[in-house]
């Protein structure tokens, strides 16, 4: 240690350098993603890409909570699905313009997140996960029992896409696509900012070692609740947007399997990596689309992929790449 002491002076600049090069790499990736978003609707079906983007945003929101807050929620379908219902309902029955319907859905998800989060954060680990699951099941049964609001088994169908700001018709897939792409990019940038904010630093510290963070004077529960609400809100943004894209909100959106799917996407893509959930959502949604002919077997194939992922590369797709290039992604 003593002979190394002489190298102490340059160490500070080495820190700055690596952080800088990582930031540069991330900036390049953001530009690449933006470019991909621009060309995507011309080379793939816009509806397919929009589906990927909605689920990618959902997975990004989930990863914010698990990967950076260290909190495993088994009930994220509640926020995604409830926002989907509210967005569909207000667009169809109240005649809200799409941006307002999406906003309404997102806001409700945030409120629901504040309520459920404040109950769940009182417990740790698996108990926390179980409480989030139980609360999400309550939302599912509520949705099942209130067909006047949710449309019951049928869901809310034929949701009008309406006119953005009451001006631009979104009936055309291409037109809607730009809105969805903008929402996705906005969500991604916001999450990136949260992760790299003073708040994000504290969240990561609590994730790493909660008692130590508390012993430094951080009121851990307040940070956990805040990150929970942010995650639920962004999951709601994804669900509310999805309802407008597919013109449909249904029980599938609030079902526990939806909570499971977002866990799957995040793990396949790379837990605790910034870009992993996007890759995970792409893989899972593509698989569901191309393997749709297999019917119920899709679930089995998904299960096998999940098990292989966990056995072969636990860090997920992006996690493995990050390890190879020795840079956080």
């Amino acid at each position: 240690m003593t002979e190394l002491a002489s190298t102490e002076a340059p160490a500070a600049s080495v820190v700055a350098e690596t952080d800088d090069s990582t930031a540069r790499l991330h900036r390049t990736l953001f530009i690449a993603i933006a470019a991909l978003l621009v060309v995507a609707p011309f080379v793939a079906y816009p509806v397919f890409v929009m589906k990927v983007l909605c689920f990618a945003l959902f997975a990004l929101a989930f990863n914010l909570l698990l990967g950076y807050g260290g909190l495993l929620s088994f009930g994220h379908a509640a926020y995604f699905g409830m926002a989907s219902y509210v967005s569909a309902y207000t667009a169809k029955h109240w005649g809200l313009t799409p941006e307002l319907a999406i906003l309404a859905g997102t806001a409700i998800a945030g409120l629901l997140g504040a309520l459920f989060g404040s109950l769940a954060i009182r417990r740790q680990g698996i108990y926390f996960a179980m409480i989030t699951l139980a609360l999400a099941q309550m939302v599912f049964f509520f949705s099942l029992q209130t067909p006047r609001f949710t449309g019951g088994e049928d869901g809310i169908q034929a949701v009008p896409r309406g006119k953005l700001f009451g001006l631009v018709s979104l009936a055309d897939d291409r037109a809607l696509y730009w809105l969805v792409a903008a929402i996705f990019m906005g969500g991604l940038l916001l999450i990136y900012r949260i992760i790299h904010s003073p708040f994000g630093e504290v969240c990561k510290a609590i994730r790493d070692n909660e008692p130590r963070a508390i012993s430094l004077g951080y009121r851990a529960n307040q940070y956990k609740l805040a990150v929970f609400v942010l995650s639920a809100t962004l999951a709601g943004l994804a669900g509310a947007t999805k309802a407008i894209v597919f013109q449909l909100a249904s029980l599938t959106d609030v079902h526990w399997s939806m909570s499971g799917e977002v866990v799957l996407m995040t793990l396949v893509g790379g837990l605790g990596t910034v870009f992993g959930p996007i890759a995970g959502a792409l893989v899972i949604v593509a698989m569901q689309n191309y393997l749709a002919t297999l019917g119920a077997w899709v679930t089995v194939v998904q299960g096998v992929i999940f098990v292989l992922c966990v056995l072969l590369f636990r860090e997920g797709i992006v996690g493995v790449i990050a390890k190879a290039i020795k840079k956080p992604l």
């Binding site: 002491a5 190298t7 820190v15 790299h196 003073p198 708040f199 630093e201 307040q222 940070y223």
Partner: protein, 257 residues
């Protein structure tokens, strides 16, 4: 107690902790003088770590009172204790494994900002703390590891990092639980010198098994055995106490040098 009340920064009376039927800490009356280095020693299982957990509110006491700076803190929450200037380290080395060494320290410096709920701001607002964080990292001899994730440090270096993190809060009183466990001789000397240096304007209560360190650093020693205070005084007094010698030998206490 004959010591004037204003000299005492931390005191407990009748502090007791029971786990089920087992009493880990039993009626401890502890008085720590302001500005002193006070050592808490005793064989393994004596209740030292439990005492620390009680003092910093990580465990609720079964009975007893804790007064810090004239204020009853028996029922405070642990994060609030830290905000009052009473900061602990942990026996099991407590670092933030995925954060870099520098960020481990910076996260403590960040407390100066108050709460950090600003999720919309770039972490670049924290870069002003990097210089101070680096100075602390260097002070514990970790300068060349600053950018390494803490998980990659050896055990002894994690302990050093923990001390740097604790110091970053500039606490009025520090509780160190076996700060030198697992360190090589060179590092023990470095940390010993550091503790002596930082003790100039603060109070330190520490648990330490390295008795030569205890002898040279501490102003006062409390010996704990089976949850009770066995003896108290300076090193010369305590080390001659037959009950202390027996407690250490009786527990196979190979730590005595």
């Amino acid at each position: 107690m004959s010591i004037a009340a204003e000299d005492i920064i931390l005191s407990t009376s009748g502090l007791t902790k029971e786990f089920g039927g087992f009493t880990a800490v039993n009626g401890v009356d502890l008085n720590v003088r302001r500005g002193s280095i006070h050592a808490l020693i005793g064989p393994n299982g004596a209740g030292k770590t439990t005492c620390f957990n009680l003092l910093t509110k990580f465990l609720p006491p079964t009975k007893g009172l804790i007064v810090y700076n004239g204020r009853d803190i028996t029922r405070e929450k642990p994060a609030e204790i830290a905000r009052l200037g009473l900061v602990r380290s942990f026996q099991i080395s407590a670092v933030f494994p995925q954060l870099s060494v520098l960020k481990n320290v910076r996260i403590a410096l960040q407390r100066k900002r108050g709460d950090s709920f600003d999720f919309w701001r770039s972490e670049e607002v924290l870069s002003g703390l990097d210089g101070e964080a680096m100075r602390l990292v260097e002070a514990v001899g970790l300068g060349s590891f600053a950018k390494l994730p803490a998980v990659e440090l050896s055990y002894g270096r994690k302990r050093a990092l923990e001390i740097a993190t604790t110091l970053a809060l500039d606490p009025e009183m520090m509780l160190l639980d076996e700060p030198m466990a697992g360190m090589g001789r060179e590092d023990v000397e470095r940390i010993e010198a550091l503790i002596r240096k930082v003790s100039e304007n603060r109070t330190i209560l520490m648990v330490e098994h390295n008795l030569s360190v205890v002898a040279s650093l501490s102003d006062r020693i409390t010996v704990l055995a089976r949850g009770q205070i066995l003896a108290e005084g300076d090193y010369a007094t305590v080390s001659k106490d037959p009950r202390v010698i027996e407690a250490y030998i009786g527990s196979g206490g190979g730590h005595a040098h």
